[in-house]
């Protein structure tokens, strides 16, 4: 099994570190790299925005290939994220909505993740919360 990991700080600029990490994972094909970057970036963005305060303010990301399956996992500890994620259909159908107050579209990121990954799973835990994407 090939794998790579990176430790990220819980801040918006960590998306740049995550993209650099994905660029440096040597077992990815170019198309896979793009998929991980786009889908993983959306998940990381959600964790940073909705999981604060994070325990130790750190998120671990791990990319791994097992056979023909490519996995991307995010590991963090944040009691508040589980309650947020309960209202977010990580694998169900949801339509993006336009927020006129902020002139922003909401909910596009998770739609993108669902369409890019074969599976998106959130597993809350007492010691660690985990989000897995399977490609």
């Amino acid at each position: 099994m090939a794998e790579g990991t990176v430790l990220l700080e819980a801040k918006t600029s960590s998306i740049l570190d995550f993209e650099r990490f994905v660029d440096g994972v040597d077992f990815l094909e170019p198309g896979e790299r793009d998929r991980l970057k786009v889908a993983g970036g959306e998940i990381l963005d959600n964790i940073v925005k909705h999981a604060s305060p994070l325990y130790l303010r750190r998120i671990r990301a791990r990319a791994a290939r097992r056979g023909s399956t490519l996995m991307l996992g995010f590991y963090f500890r944040a009691p508040s994220f589980a309650s947020f994620a309960c209202g977010e259909p990580l694998s169900g159908a949801a339509e993006p909505l336009f927020d006129p107050a902020f002139r922003r579209w909401r909910g596009i990121g998770l739609v993108m993740c669902r369409n890019l990954a074969r599976k998106v799973v959130f597993r809350p835990g007492e010691m660690m919360d985990r989000i897995f994407l399977e490609f």
Binding site: L16, E19, P30, R103, R104, I108, V111, N115, L116
Partner: protein
């Protein structure tokens, strides 16, 4: 490349924004500001050949710009998108609604 660079120039009565680098939740505000300003003024084309990442924040800016273009009557096009931009657009599930063209002449 971790920095977003946007060069704006007037070309044949149209604003051309040449974007390089990642458009993500950390960098998208500069993209948003320049695209919204451009589309309010005149026809706008965004060259995305050298974009290295595109998040939902960037997709949202493009979608809002498409609506602004309809409202103002100005043209709007995405020119020669990189592979990752194409992937991000397709992943929305309604990629066919985005005004993507291969060359500036087609815009």
């Amino acid at each position: 490349m971790t920095q977003l660079d946007i060069i704006v120039r007037n070309e044949h009565h149209r604003l051309l924004l040449s974007v390089s680098g990642p458009i993500n939740s950390y960098t998208f505000t500069d993209f948003q500001e320049k695209v919204y300003k451009a589309i309010a003024q005149m026809d706008t084309a965004v060259d995305m050949e050298h974009v290295t990442a595109l998040s939902s924040a960037g997709i949202g800016v493009i979608m809002t710009a498409m609506e602004d273009a309809e409202t103002t009557g100005h043209g709007f096009a995405i020119v020669n998108p990189s592979e990752i931009v194409r992937l991000a657009i397709e992943s929305t599930g309604f990629g066919d609604r985005f005004p993507v063209v291969k060359t500036l002449k087609q815009a």
